[in-house]
Symmetry: C2
Subunit: 214 residues, 2 copies
Amino acid sequence: MMDAMYQLPPRRTYHHGDLRQALLDAGIALARVGGPEAVVLREATRRAGVVPNAAYRHFANRQALLQAVRAAALAALATAMEKERARQRRGKHGVDAARASLRAIGTAYLRFARTEPGLFRTAFGVPGDPETTAHPAMAGKSGLNPFQLLSTALDELVQADLLPKKRRPDAEYVAWSAVHGLAMLVLEGPLRRLPRTQIRGIEQRLLAMVEKGL
Amino acid sequence: MMDAMYQLPPRRTYHHGDLRQALLDAGIALARVGGPEAVVLREATRRAGVVPNAAYRHFANRQALLQAVRAAALAALATAMEKERARQRRGKHGVDAARASLRAIGTAYLRFARTEPGLFRTAFGVPGDPETTAHPAMAGKSGLNPFQLLSTALDELVQADLLPKKRRPDAEYVAWSAVHGLAMLVLEGPLRRLPRTQIRGIEQRLLAMVEKGL
DNA sequence: TGTACATCAGTGAACGCGCGTTCACTGATGTAC
DNA sequence: TGTACATCAGTGAACGCGCGTTCACTGATGTAC
């Protein structure tokens, strides 16, 4: 019933035009609403106004579509990080700017989890390593994916003498863990029901802990 | 084929004896291997040597069985925490003992995620709040569930003057986030492929960060 | 100590579900001559 | 400028899958008298 709402009017041409993109868009829309498990081949083709097996002209199988959606989700997060970084660094220099970068990365990550839970779960709840594969489909304007953006921020911290060089290795894993854990607990864990203001407080406190504790 | 291995020899009695427990045991075994999505009603009844719909005498539906398995997983974690706490506190008093408690809780959590990934995902990847529901089925010997054990450890820290009273509220969420995030990244995230020794190092560092940063 | 009968735990058969995927096909498009 | 034909993108029909769940049933058990 609901699904019928998404059905397109019948095409006038036999060829679709850009079915690959249409399927990807549909997949992203599905992921936004229901996370990775909602990325269903048949539903994507329905929304594109096309017969189910037509998808196989453009994706090897369901998994391939899902990975494309995941890449798009990672790219969206990377872009959000870049924007927040630019915003927080405005007018700052040196030490302050470096600190602002790390904050911005963490803030954008947590906000993305809150505002785009479906895409967030798709980005991180599906196997496949975001750091090793440096595919541009997963990156923002700078060409860096979310993990690489975090690494860059930590490098800045070292250059600004805010993080001792010997503590630099593996620091991204520690920082990422903290932020990722909070995101998960808020998203589908026991923090789901906490009021938004309390969650914001916890977020601030966690970011402070990372800065101080690294 | 594989599944046949788990098929029981035909019962000699018409009544099973303790089918509820048998189904729960089967469910736990399934969760250990494949996480929550592997807890399949039909497979559980197969392993118990019983017809599929027999399960409905003991569980309202699949969800009810899954929740029972989840409670068992939480109880197992709670027990592991209690054991580790007893071990680490041995011979310590006052301030040292309080510090040891928190370490033990975190250590046990991370080890549980590593050694029982299926149960870990079942415990925390399935909706339902472990902190509000204080059901004994989720608890260890002390009657406290994992979240309550963490809270207790933080209370100790306050009593030992290691954590200022005003920073006590919400501290469990911050601590939990850090540890939970690392567990998730190691389990199904990009840290999956890192060598075990490196992971251990990151774990130690994360726990140190929490102690220092709280 | 024996029988009648209510109660409970398991059986047997069947459903609908929507999915991913494969097959042989046809309609449209663009390039070579 | 027009036609022949290879190529590609979509169609139509069908599969097997294993699941959760419902129905009407029968076998075993224990309690009342």
